[in-house]
Symmetry: C2
Subunit: 175 residues, 2 copies
């Protein structure tokens, strides 16, 4: 029953509280859940595919006080974004390496929900794991939810892991 490992795509993003390169609470939750409940001791049976989608607008926010005087300034910015994304992925890849689970990780830019669904089509994982803040309907109206969109539109089975209640930060929209 072994053969090719089961390929699990996991969408990961940065924390809104601690900032780059810290993984969000729900990303870490989804990852740890996958390790403990699915992979378990069968480390050779799975390959984890980490996708981090950087939101261009969100990053621009940090640059409010920056001055852009030349094309070089933008190159520096892109390089810095890249470095941050890589640090985020490093956390997950290191964990996998320590445990002995095969993995791949990559970064894309765009709208996370759209890009995740597009990457599912391209990479064809066996299933997709996404973390969710578990917001109520009122909060969802304002922040949208990547997990709901993916569960509906991704062309593979999707499992949504809600953030544990005891890990909810003071503002539940934070993660």
């Amino acid at each position: 029953m072994e053969g090719e490992p089961t390929r699990v795509m996991i969408g990961v993003n940065e924390s809104t509280i601690k900032g780059y390169p810290h993984a969000s609470i729900s990303s870490r939750g989804a990852f740890e859940w996958t390790l403990h409940k699915i992979v378990r001791s069968n480390t050779s049976g799975f390959k984890l595919l980490f996708l981090h989608v950087q939101v261009p607008d969100e990053d621009g926010f940090d640059d409010m006080d920056s001055v852009y005087a030349s094309p070089e300034d933008f190159k520096t910015m892109n390089l810095r974004d890249r470095t941050r994304g890589l640090h985020l992925l490093e956390y997950f890849v290191n964990r996998c390496h320590d445990i002995g689970v095969a993995c791949e990780a990559w970064i894309k830019k765009g709208d996370p929900k759209e890009v995740i669904c597009y990457e599912v089509q391209r990479v064809l994982p066996d299933f997709l794991v996404v973390g969710s803040r578990g917001l109520g309907p009122f909060q969802r109206v304002f922040v949208g939810t990547v997990s709901e969109f993916c569960a509906k539109h991704a062309e593979c089975p999707v499992i949504t892991i809600k953030r544990r209640a005891d890990e909810t930060p003071q503002d539940p929209v934070d993660d």
Copy 2:
């Protein structure tokens, strides 16, 4: 990383084409997917919990031409329903036994979507697997979908396994 096995609840139902005690295409699909993609060779790491919800009305349909003259007739009917449900579960339990995966199976009566969510609350599985016919929005209006309801309301992670395109019967509402 082992310890207690991961408890996976799987909702199973009968085929609308072949009738009891044949499992529906989507139930079998969800079960086989769980074995091949999640359990794999780690048979001691998982325990499968099969829940079959019998719909009282649906069964009544077969009894259109029956005559009920005494309380005994109803007892016979209940016994017959019970026997059919047990045969359905037998299929899944036998497969698990052959492979060496621990399992439990039980029958409840009621509205499948409500009962599955209720049983999740009672039994607290690590996650729930449900099959889906993968109907389009137009077809869904008329038949409702158990998987969509469970994905939204069940108090545990839910993974929906769509029926494979090459297994779709002539009438996609059939299963």
